[in-house]
Amino acid sequence: MITSIKYHFALLFWVAACSCVFGQNPVPARAQQSPFAVTGATVHVGDGTVLDNATILVSNGRIESVGAGGDVPAGYETVDASGKEIYPGLIALNSQLGLVEINSVRATRDDREVGLMNPNARALIAFNTDSQVIPTIRSRGVLLAQATPEGSLVSGTSSIMQLDGWNFEDAAVKADDGIHVHWPNRNSYNWLTGRIIPNERYDEQERELEAFLEQAVGYCGRPEGDGERLLKFEALCDVIDGGAKAYLHAEEARDIQAGVLLLKRMGASPVIVGGYQAHLIPEFLKREGVPVILGSTQALPAAQDEPIDQPYRSPALLADAGVEFAISHEGYWQQRNLPFVAGQAVGFGLDYEKAVEAVTLTPARIAGIDADYGSVETGKSATFIVVSGDLLDMRTSNVEHAFIDGREIDLDNKQAELYRKFKEKYDRQTSR
């Protein structure tokens, strides 16, 4: 426990450590050995509430209690977090973290399988815990990520991973949490001419998707052993009985509606991913009980005539309309900016705690891991971060400690190592 260690001291510790681990990711933290308490911080619980001067007791990886004030029992080490902010570990939904290492190098990409129907492609299997990108992401407070296959029309099955694991098995928090359906594009964009034209094959693709899902419903309803084993349909059975989520990637209002109705017909529980126009159909989404994983706020408006700040404002519009939503960001290395992507919405009318919830508890609820993750509450996993400042604002977003299941994880990363290495180069020059 480095509870009383100040920031610069931590730096020295890293310098000492770096000579032996350089070029490698930090060693995953040990399971929690002894109970500890974090005191004095302002806790952003994740459900919209804030606790001032709170004490959090943690043992065996779980939060024993959390509340304002409160004594620290004997035998607990104490982390004095006075004046600091505590947030649940952020959850990056719809990310390719661990699936892609260097975007332009094909050999390092494992996010997209060939063909249109890949429900049986499992991101879990390709998730690389030794990705050098991962430590840079968790150093910004993102502790869990949904490893998500890309593609169309059914890109594959995602899994929820914690970001401090030896291998994909022990990193998996929830394996195979859902499949990803990408609604066909109604329009195709000719990049050469700058023209958007209707996708001639839209109807055909929609029918193809519908027929595929209907086949799966039939397949999954068969008695065991009746007919040949078909992996693609088998992969959908969990979704059809509602055990796993059906993530519907769709931006336009009419696609969202059509997709939700289709997925509900087959018995699935849909979640919208992207949802650029979700703010236009709040009543539909509430009636159907469908949550939305909004695409990044740090994006351009979808069209010339759109409000110039539409992506910034969409979260506030959904919040005002009472639609359940999470906020996400694109890609893999980009996920380190997830806190700011949430903060951006605060600048355009979203309540601060709501923004926190949209990257913590709501994603946990959507992914079905909220019994353990997503908020700093008694009985849940001790997965939270300590920040000296405002997590959502880059001015002060200094993440000092991060805990996953009560394990304090190493926030060092390749980039910090390189920083120290070249600081050392210049320090030697000045000391010469």
């Binding site: 209707p198 005539d305 409000p307 290395w333 880059m394 070249f422």
Partner: protein, 1004 residues
């Protein structure tokens, strides 16, 4: 080249021509029987020219020429009389922009997977570039195309200036008529005009693949041709010879829109050439600038069909700009005429020549008067092409090229009966054809019917019904030589009636057989009270009424969503009580005032006052100088030429696109100045453009006046084409070894070129080497796209060998490794705050890069290279505080003062200091906070963005969109043609954006 006839010679020419023109060099088989086509058309209104009309006149033509047009004239003895009582004769139209009789243009079928085509595939001693085809001679290519000729004649054309629409230089046009007698007779004149365009046409050669590359190629061709003609050269170049020969002709340049018209005009101006512009039909959007260009225009009448907006979601694809253009395009002709810009009209671009009439009527309804339209299709083109002595009017001695109509083809729905070309009559519709009345009382034997007629003459339909019964029977009928043949099966009868009838003065009468084969008499008497004359008049009233109708759409600068209704003016403004980030020694001032006068900062301090000033209460707000983006690709039509390892000759200033909504969006992020860079596809890219984001201004007006010129260089994976696929293994270089050699080679050559030019040797002016020599002479400065330390060191050392400095490394993600050397060399670093991992060469990029460079004394900036991120560069500056602990005041300079220093404009912008430009941003919060919003953005003291006004504009544009959609639905419901929604969307250009690659590539 044929000498143009001087007017004084004209009468003599005409005398001889009458006698001799019938002579040809061709032998004749048999007994010669070619009459001299001597005709007198009587009883007509002859519209001799736009200024002269003769009522009840006789037009006499002979041997293909006009002999006379006289009011109440006699039919000369020997002439064949043609009675056309009550009809009108107009000079037939002249198409200035035809491709009649030309071979098809075959587009190159090369695809990306074929790899680049570095050299021309034209065989022979022609230009190095396949798109330069000045040797093309339309006269030599021309051959009569009867089918195309008929289509154009039916539309009223008689004469065409035709050229092969292929390439950047398309060679010489030829004037031909639409007669079909012989190629030799219809070809009137060769070498009429030199045609140019920005379109490579059939050329599959890589260079040029961008608009600025095309413009550079044009410039160099002018220079090459001049050099070629000035002495004995070691090459014979038939293209340059042809180019030189074409220079005294009218130079006609085809463009797509008003911005490209200005681009073409700019190139012309540089070489003393005034192009005639074949425009895009959107001239009304920027009349002033086009008028100033001094160009005449050839305007197409291509109006967008109504968008089918029935599906509300599909309609979302259509932009307000598209809807506006749909409404206003027909008014373009009137607007251009009103502005006094000389112009003619072309049918080029229409689906078929016959669409011209409806388009003209629309233009007329939208305000273009008859005389204007007539000039634009007759005397205008004739004068433009230097053939006004042959065609365009019906004066004596002109070619007998005219049409016979029932009314004005410019303003009314006219019928063209005959089109005469070189004295050859072509019948389109019989002069004697009877137009049916709208309704007849019909008796057949003992039966009585009502016949109702609908549709236009020539394609009228008739139905039959019994009085009082709504059941209608279709009548099949045909009319030939005045004889009407009909067939119909009345309701309740088992067989057909078959009738023939002829006009009887009132209606028709005749005989036929009834359903049982018995002979019956037939009579059709027109019903009175609803004759077509009345309905026509009421139609005309409608047309006049619609002229005075207001447009639903607004016209803004630029004419897209969020355009400004008027350009902002510089005001005296006093910001009171702000937190002022001066970027000067005073640091951050609390509760301070800033005074702006005449576009400049006039005062900074406490308690300022100015009686005339607009006071802005900035209590609780932050005032900063405008954000400067050192690396941007917005507001550009193209980014990469990139087809050769050096394209130093291309200029981004050529392709600034003032109609980019990202300009406005970035003003809303506090950006006021952007350096618009060439891409990173090749080691030596193009010349940079520095602009202020003056939303609504023309590209020229956006330029940052008097700034030092820069050029983009690039290193690493992009210039090696590492990520472009296996087809891209042809163009040099493919390794970092080759990259260095390219630089070494070009700078050596540039130095030698510069020496020779200074020594006054007989040299061809080379725009590429000239640009590089400017670098050697410290007259131009480098912004170099770079990633890895080795290549950064390489370029600095190479520069030092050639005795110059690398001004700026951009991207420079490994700058932190060599920051000490950069500081020593004097290079600045403009980087991303935190990008990495997107390609191999950024594997060791770190977000502390900015801080480390800053600490080593490198002038450091954060740039965007991205239309999205540029909207929040203020936040990116905040990341320099987060990663590496740069003091806030210094971090803020990363996006303001430091880029100004790199661009050598810190004497003008980058801080809040008396005398500097009033480029100011008022923020609602600490400017580097994620929560900060730019509330108001000023450039030169003019307010270009105001968040409250933006909100009003957003609501207003929603209303305007809706009004236009309602108008579209009205137009659809009243039977107008529609087109399915087709959207326009801007390509988001990055470093790697290649114009010929059909995909988006984010690997910066």
């Amino acid at each position: 080249m044929t000498q143009r006839l001087r007017p004084v010679l004209l009468p003599a020419f005409l005398l001889f021509s009458i006698v001799l023109s019938a002579q040809t060099t061709f032998p004749y088989n048999g007994v010669y029987d070619q009459a001299d086509r001597y005709y007198a058309i009587t009883g007509v209104t002859v519209h001799v020219s736009p200024d002269q009309t003769l009522e009840n006149a006789t037009l006499v033509i002979r041997d293909g020429l006009i002999e006379s047009a006289t009011a109440n004239g006699e039919v000369p003895r020997g002439a064949v009389p043609v009675a056309a009582d009550g009809k009108h004769i107009y000079p037939s139209f002249i198409e200035v922009y035809g491709n009649y009789g030309m071979p098809e243009v075959e587009r190159s079928r090369r695809s990306r997977s074929d790899g680049p085509q570095m050299e021309s595939e034209t065989e022979g001693a022609y230009s190095w570039n396949q798109a330069l085809r000045p040797e093309t001679d339309a006269a030599a290519l021309f051959t009569i195309d009867a089918k195309a000729a008929k289509a154009m004649r039916d539309a009223g054309f008689g004469t065409v200036s035709t050229h092969h629409h292929d390439g950047i230089s398309r060679g010489a046009a030829a004037v031909v008529t639409l007669a079909e007698s012989s190629d030799n007779e219809v070809l009137l004149k060769r070498d009429v005009a030199h045609h140019l365009s920005f379109d490579k046409g059939s050329s599959g050669q890589d260079y040029p693949n961008s608009r600025m590359g095309t413009m550079a190629l044009l410039r160099q061709t002018y220079l090459d041709a001049e050099w070629y003609g000035e002495g004995d050269r070691r090459e014979t170049n038939l293209s340059l010879e042809a180019w030189r020969d074409l220079q005294d002709l009218p130079q006609i340049f085809e463009v797509e829109d008003w911005q490209n018209a200005l681009r073409a005009d700019k190139v012309g101006d540089e070489f003393g050439v005034q192009y005639i512009i074949r425009g895009g039909g959107d001239e009304y959007q920027r009349l002033e600038a086009l008028q100033e260009s001094g160009a005449s225009f050839i305007i197409p009448l291509t109006f967008p069909e109504t968008y089918d907006v029935s599906d509300p979601f599909a309609a979302d694809m259509i932009s307000l700009a598209q809807l506006r253009h749909w409404e206003r395009a027909p008014g373009n002709v009137a607007a251009v005429a009103e502005a006094g810009i000389p112009f003619v009209i072309t049918a080029d671009g229409l689906d078929k020549p016959g669409d011209l009439h409806e388009a003209m009527r629309k233009a007329h309804e939208a305000g273009a008067d008859e005389r204007t339209l007539m000039i634009a299709l007759t005397t205008g083109p004739a004068e433009m092409l230097g053939i006004a002595d042959r065609v365009g009017t019906l004066e004596k001695g002109m070619l007998a090229n005219f049409i016979i109509t029932d009314k004005s083809p410019f303003t009314d729905k006219a019928t063209i009966y005959q089109n005469w070309v070189q004295g050859y009559p072509f019948e389109i519709k019989s002069l004697n054809a009877t137009e049916l009345a709208t309704a007849y009382d019909i008796t057949v034997g003992d039966e009585s019917f009502v016949g109702e007629v609908s549709g236009d003459p020539g394609s009228q339909k008739m139905t039959l019904s019994t009085e009082g019964d709504s059941t209608k029977t279709d009548v099949s009928y045909s009319e030939s030589g005045g004889v009407l043949t009909m067939r119909f099966k009345p309701e309740g009868e088992d067989g057909y009636y078959r009738i023939t009838a002829t006009p009887d003065g009132e209606g028709y009468s005749g005989t036929g057989r009834d359903a049982r084969g018995r002979i019956v008499s037939f009579r059709a008497t027109p019903r009175t009270g609803n004759d077509s004359g009345n309905s026509r008049e009421s139609k005309k009233d409608d047309a006049e009424a619609s002229e005075s109708e207001e447009y639903v759409s607004r016209l803004t600068y630029p004419n897209i969503a969020y355009g400004l209704p008027t350009m902002p003016e510089a005001k005296t403004v006093l910001f009171r009580n702000a937190t002022v980030w001066t970027n000067e020694e005073q640091g951050i001032l609390q509760e301070a005032d800033v005074l702006v006068q005449d576009g400049k900062i006039a005062g900074v301090g406490q308690g300022l006052s100015d009686r005339g000033a607009t006071v802005i209460d900035a209590t609780g707000m932050h005032l900063t100088s405008g954000v400067i983006d050192e690396h941007s690709h917005i507001a550009l039509s193209s980014v990469n030429e990139g087809t050769q390892s050096s394209t130093a000759e291309v200029r981004m200033a050529d392709v600034v696109d003032a109609v980019d909504e990202n300009i406005y969006r970035q003003l809303a992020g506090g950006v006021t100045v952007s350096q618009l860079l060439h891409g990173s596809a090749n080691p030596i890219g193009g010349q940079s453009a520095l602009v202020k984001l003056r939303w609504g201004a023309s590209p020229e007006e956006m330029m940052f006046e008097g700034a030092d010129p820069f050029i983009k260089f690039a290193l690493g994976e992009n210039v090696k084409q590492s990520n472009w696929g296996d087809a891209s293994r042809v163009r040099y270089p493919q390794t970092r070894m080759g990259v260095e050699q390219i630089f070494e080679n070009y700078f050596s050559r540039a130095a030698e070129y510069d020496r020779a030019m200074r020594a006054g040797e007989d040299m061809r002016r080379d725009l590429e080497l000239e640009t590089l020599a400017q670098i050697l002479n410290d007259e131009r400065f480098i912004t170099c796209h770079s990633y890895q330390q080795g290549e950064i060191n390489m370029l600095m050392e190479l520069a030092e060998r050639h005795d110059f400095r690398v001004n700026t490394f951009t991207h420079i993600l490994e700058g932190y490794k060599v920051a000490d050397k950069m500081a020593e060399h004097g290079a600045a670093g403009s980087t991303f705050s935190d990008w990495w991992a997107y390609k191999f060469e950024v594997d060791e990029a770190i977000p502390y890069n900015g801080a480390l460079m800053y600490e080593q004394g490198v002038v450091t900036a954060f740039n965007s290279d991205d239309a999205e991120m540029a909207r929040r560069l203020n936040q990116e500056a905040g990341k320099a505080v987060l990663f590496g602990g740069v003091p806030e005041e210094e971090a803020w300079k990363f996006v303001t003062l430091n880029p100004a220093k790199m661009l050598h404009i810190d004497d003008r912008v980058g801080s809040i200091k008396v005398g500097k430009d009033a480029d100011l941003v008022l923020w609602n919060d600490h400017p580097m906070s994620i929560y900060a919003r730019a509330e108001r953005t000023f450039i030169d003291g003019k307010e270009y963005f105001n968040r409250e006004e933006n909100e009003e504009r957003r609501l207003a544009l929603g209303e305007e969109r809706n009004a236009l959609i309602q108008a579209s639905l009205d137009a659809k419901n009243s039977g107008g043609k529609t087109q399915p929604p087709r959207g326009n969307s801007r390509r988001l250009l990055h470093c790697n954006s290649l114009d010929h690659h059909n995909e988006e590539n984010h690997d910066h």
